[in-house]
Subunit: 169 residues, 2 copies
């Protein structure tokens, strides 16, 4: 609960590398994430190579905080491994990949590391750069590193707008 | 991190009602969830009415643990309010609704409450029962209540299967 309340999206990072044991702990938090039918239809690519990070950043419309972070995580969903009929209408891979990355963001924060959900990217370019197969989808990216800023809590809608009781309102 | 490690999917609940202040705290955890462009394109319907719970349970193929829990949460994504081009190809409403529910599951656990991601449901029936508009999608459901079981940790893939470095492998 504390992590949920104090986590922020971090877009400025120190150069300090992420210790290997903390990276493992963060990735393990993703591993523990639940998924539909326990299919775990996702893969996270840990991008640390400087050239690769630069290319990936370009594929994210040049959002510079990505290349500034020591690590960029690229979260892929694997439709063919997923539960096919969430609600009778969709594959679970987007949900399952999202749960995994949410676990990462909260675990990272609890270890003093910063992350930021990145939705603004060109999937085809990211796939080309990292050799991601055609039938695998890129769901989101995130930088990972030590924060070099302490952003204020952003505004949110009121609970009344987000919650309804016993029927949709 | 502790919550991530010890959370389990709960499918057996005590009859004890969920105190109003804990419900609010859990819903507030969803409210604090990040979303693409901070659009917060989701709504959670808190189902407590017994008849409604029974109908919703039927729409979830009769998964009895739903009706046994004092509360069923129905998590909706609102495509028209969402960031339209995650990766250049999809609406963010599934991701954003998933982050919100993941926050709920972890916050609930940290408060001694149990939840369970439910993907096996008939969206059209759930929408009919709760009056959910045509252009709003049901992404997932979860029971919420005091656990009446302590499941073992389910198996997960090894990190080697889930993680790759600098390129997809």
């Amino acid at each position: 609960m504390e992590a949920i309340k104090t986590r922020r999206s971090i877009r400025k990072f120190r150069e300090t590398p992420v210790p290997e044991n903390l990276l493992k702990e963060v990735l393990n938090a993703a591993r523990l994430a639940p998924s539909a039918d326990n299919a775990q239809p996702w893969k996270i690519i840990v991008v640390r190579d400087e050239q690769m990070k630069q290319k990936v950043t370009q594929a994210c419309n040049g959002q510079k905080f990505l290349v500034q972070a020591p690590i960029v995580l690229v979260v892929c969903g694997i439709p063919e491994d997923a539960f096919q009929t969430v609600g009778g209408y969709m594959s679970s891979h987007v949900i399952d990949a999202s749960i995994a990355l949410d676990h990462v963001t909260l675990a990272a924060h609890s270890l003093g590391l910063g992350t930021c959900w990145v939705a603004w990217f060109k999937e085809e370019k990211v796939k080309d750069i990292l050799g991601i197969p055609e039938d695998v989808r890129v769901v989101a990216l995130s930088p990972l590193g030590y924060p070099d800023e302490s952003p204020e809590r952003p505004s949110r809608k009121n609970l009344e707008e987000l919650i309804a009781y016993d029927k949709y309102e």
